[in-house]
Amino acid sequence: MTESLRPILAILVSTVAIPVILSLKRRPNVREGVTLTVAFAKFAIIASMVPGVLSGTQYEFVLGQFATGIELAFNVDPLGLLFGLLASLLWIVTSFYSIGYMRGLDEHAQTRYFASFAASLASAVGVAFASNLLTLFVCYELLTVSTYPLVTHDETDEARAAGRKYLAYTFGGGVAVLGGTVLVFVLAGTTAFTPDGIEALATADPTLARAAFALLAAGFGVKAALMPMHSWLPDAMVAPTPVSGLLHAVAVVKSGVFGIARVVLDVYGPVTMKELGVALPLAAIAAFTLLTASIIALRQDNLKRRLAYSTISQLSYIVLGLALLKENALTGGLLHIPAHAFMKLTLFFCAGAIHVETHTDDISDMAGIGKRMPLTMAAFAVAAAGMAGIPLVAGFVSKWYLVIGALNLESGGLVFAAALLVSGVLNIAYFWPIVYQAYFESPEGHDEKPLIEGPFGGRSELRADGGDSDETHAASDEGEVPEPEHVDHLGKHDEEHEHHGGPPAGGWDDRGWRGGESTWFMLGPILTAATLSLLLGTVPYTAVFLRIVDTIVSNLPGVMA
């Protein structure tokens, strides 16, 4: 381990940016400049640690004593780096996209939005680099707090309800994590992450150790949206799309998954997990979740909701991979963290772009939209293919490893492999119709609302995002209360914006393939994310993430091949 300022710098750089962003309320261009600069800086700092970590160095920074025997300390190991690198990389992409999205909708409270974003990223990287459970918990709670304003951003009743639910669920999870942390501390006398598990836990009272594991898994499981603790996630889709994208596909949910990974790999360790017999129940819950969520996703008409259920399903892939405790499954699960992030981000960005440009949120309104937004829908198709596990896209690689790992299991492997494959089929079943509709149908030839009118789906008035449900914002949308700096920077208001949802009267116009469909602030990030998922699918080693994952797995002697 090397003493280094880099871990704390990576966290502080966006923390320091918060007051700066807040103070730049009146100067949005400078404000966004700061956001981007910080995002790049953060990525650069984290990326600079990649070679070192790959060659076995770990960067450590101790902030101070937090409580007896527990330090507030950060340590960059391969697992942390995986998550930190991913989060900071995607923050850059999302920042660009946010600028396009927020300005495109002329949203209110943008300063708060960007400040919260910076705070969320600081916490997420804190989660990644935390070197013990308590530090992880601290950052985990701060992540909840800093993402709350993003979820409730709209300030509508619905947004507030979603925010309340979000807080209740995640703080409830936090309490469980705290309980588990205390138990681990009492049992083991430490909470520091140790590759292959804390030794003292293996010899501790098995009942208490199991209880602690259950608490930790349940606590992190809330953010990882394991069923039955998932229901905050679809509701939280009320947030602006970039928030849904980054936080609910990347930072927040991944922090839950990451927490489970830490618990499985670095607190308990595969051997102790097996001895305690806690791995199988976790795997079962994950398998159940990934199947059920896929089925529910079929019934959603609102695009973001469908994506949300897809997220729930995909996250359980990762948890399943961790819980199987097999080398290949582990590789697959961990690789699915970045793979899913890139793909899901692409999908959310696409949904957001559609919303900004055409105010369409429901899948049933999207027939023929490929003509209007060809590049966007192409990216969507690529990412959707990846989700389903079709080769050349990131999802294929991770799922491949997962299935191999499941098949290697001494017993029950077939069940899990089958669950993975069935879910893959379901993925195709819920993504293909969107792509098909977009390109091969036209609004006229398309039946109204072909999908099942589910308990969540099908409500055309569901305004899952944006500030347009509020009168004043609707007004500012129409430029009655123009905020000059917004207009002159963006200079683009779509003529369709008065129309709410669905194709305009004369059908979608043809915008061609050269980016006429939206601003490059949005298209750029979409294409970048799609490209990243392709890269990860074709040259996974060059894209570094698989190498990090390999390093993680090779550090775990307890994992059975």
Binding site: Q65, A67, L72, E141, V145, R160, G163, A168, F171, V186
Partner: protein
């Protein structure tokens, strides 16, 4: 000179408190400078004392030079040193708030200093009857301060406080009588050895004394169901007083309860009479849940904060009653942290009311943009109270939970953990309203706001107090290891480790 500090800490505010009454004959505005001067001195002395205690251990002082069981002994160990410093610092801080917020009368500042004297006396004394005397000074001063508001309701609240508070103090006194009957002594250390020697731990006299003294103090701490005086008193007192007494009066009473548990009855008693411990722990747990439930159902923000105190002191008392070293450290951290947080929250409500006229949960809607600094401080303090790390509210809870787990007391662990969510239940709706709801009060900031009738605006000092409290609520976490070191010398003898 340093060995004289314990008594000086009590005498200094008494002297200061005697002056404003005469000074007000000369000038109407003499009260504030006198109080400030006194409390600056007080803070210096308390700081010096805390430093002395942490470097060279417990300081004990024989008033009048009469040795311990015959004369009155003052004892300052890590626990009381920390509380004495807290009293000095917070009373000085609230004074900065009072300068603008008032009340401005001479007697008010006299009483203010007498309250400081009473609180400090309760903190440093090592004699159970002397504790009663200071308890009553504290009470009298607090009743008077609550009634110093212009509103007639302040007088009603003060009378209710007086009557219930007097019953509490009287029960405590009766408990002292039972202890006296059992042992013939009043000195805490002497009692600790004589209880058990002269009277068995489970003898009727000792048990009755425990019940009465603890019962009396829980009235003062305002644990459920003996809390009924407290919401009225906090909500109807002037803002300065609310901030002051919500931060300190219950806090010092809870300290006195701890002192009684550890220095008089001792942990051996709690072990020998498990029912006493479980009764106290049970009371604390009920208080945590009931206080939160009542807080959720309040419309007035100040009343909500008052009920929140009922709940939070449940946490503190639970920590003390569990009585493992970690739990006691946690209870102490939470005791000190709660004082800062609750004082800051009440101060913030005062600022928000003066600026916008908002006093209710609904009235707070949309005030986040109207009073950005105070609202932000309020939000930070709320989150700290909920126990979001790394704020000090979390650290205290962490240790208490750790202690409860060590004691393998799972039901209590569950309640303690749930208290986070319970606290969240009432603070989250307020913070949500502050930032994510349409304003319901639409007066312009420059218009005269609806205040408590004093019609006064807000000074820089008032906002500074609120902001500093919010900063402290987070920064105090860094001081926890220091506090723990201070308690490390103190606790083992107290807890028979």
């Amino acid at each position: 000179m340093i060995e004289q500090i314990p008594v000086l800490l009590v005498v200094l505010p008494i002297v200061g408190g005697a002056i404003p009454l005469v000074a007000s004959l000369v000038s109407d505005r003499a009260g504030w400078p006198v109080a400030t001067l006194t409390l600056v001195g007080q803070t210096g002395l308390a700081g010096l004392l805390a430093w002395t205690v942490s470097t060279s251990g417990t300081v004990s002082y024989a008033v009048g030079g009469f040795a311990a069981p015959y004369g009155i002994e003052l004892v300052v160990d890590g626990l009381s040193g920390a509380v004495a410093l807290l009293v000095a610092v917070i009373s000085l801080g609230v004074l900065a708030y009072a300068r603008k917020a008032g009340p401005h009368s001479g007697p008010f500042y006299g009483l203010y200093l007498l309250l400081v004297a009473g609180l400090t006396g309760m903190t440093v004394t090592g004699d159970v009857f002397n504790l009663y005397v200071f308890l009553e000074i504290t009470g009298l001063a607090a009743y008077g301060l609550v009634a110093s508001g212009r509103d007639a309701s302040a007088a009603v609240a003060a009378l209710k406080y007086l009557i219930i508070g007097t019953v509490g103090a009287s029960l405590y006194l009766l408990g002292v009588g039972y202890l006296l009957a059992a042992t013939g002594t009043l000195n805490m250390a002497d009692l600790a050895t004589k209880i058990g020697e002269m009277a068995a731990y489970d003898s009727t006299l000792v048990l009755t004394a425990f019940g009465l003294m603890v019962g009396g103090l829980t009235v003062k701490v305002a644990l459920f169901p003996l809390h009924t005086w407290q919401p009225d008193a906090y909500a109807n007192a002037p803002d300065t007083v609310s901030a002051f007494i919500s931060a300190l009066v219950s806090t010092v009473s809870a300290y006195a309860l701890a002192r009684l548990l550890f220095s008089v009855f001792t942990v051996e008693f709690l072990t020998a009479v498990p029912v006493a411990r479980w009764a106290l722990v049970g009371l604390a747990c009920v208080s945590i849940v009931a206080g939160s439930a009542l807080a959720v159902s309040q419309d007035s923000v100040q009343r909500m904060l008052a009920y929140s105190s009922v709940s939070q002191f449940g946490l503190v008392v639970a920590g003390f009653a569990i009585a493992t070293p970690l739990a006691v450290v946690g209870a102490t951290v939470h005791l000190l942290g709660h004082a800062v947080m609750k004082g800051g929250l009440f101060a913030a409500t005062g600022v928000i009311e003066r600026k916008t006229g908002a006093t209710t949960v609904n009235g707070y809607a949309g005030m986040g943009s109207r009073v950005p600094v105070s609202a932000f401080a309020f939000a930070v303090l709320s989150l700290a109270m909920v126990g979001v790390p790394p704020a000090v509210g979390f650290v205290g809870k962490w240790y208490i939970v750790l202690g409860a787990v060590n004691a393998e007391n799972w039901a209590v662990v569950a309640v303690l953990l749930a208290s986070t969510l319970l606290t969240l239940a009432y603070f989250a709706r307020l913070v949500e309203r502050l930032y994510f709801a349409e304003a319901t009060i639409h007066s312009k900031p420059d218009e005269a706001p609806v205040t408590d009738g004093s019609g006064q605006a807000v000074s820089f000092g008032m906002i500074a107090v609120v902001v500093i409290a919010a900063a402290l609520a987070v920064a105090l976490t860094a001081a926890v290891p220091e506090l723990q070191a201070m308690l490390e010398d103190t606790l083992p003898p107290l807890l028979n480790q």
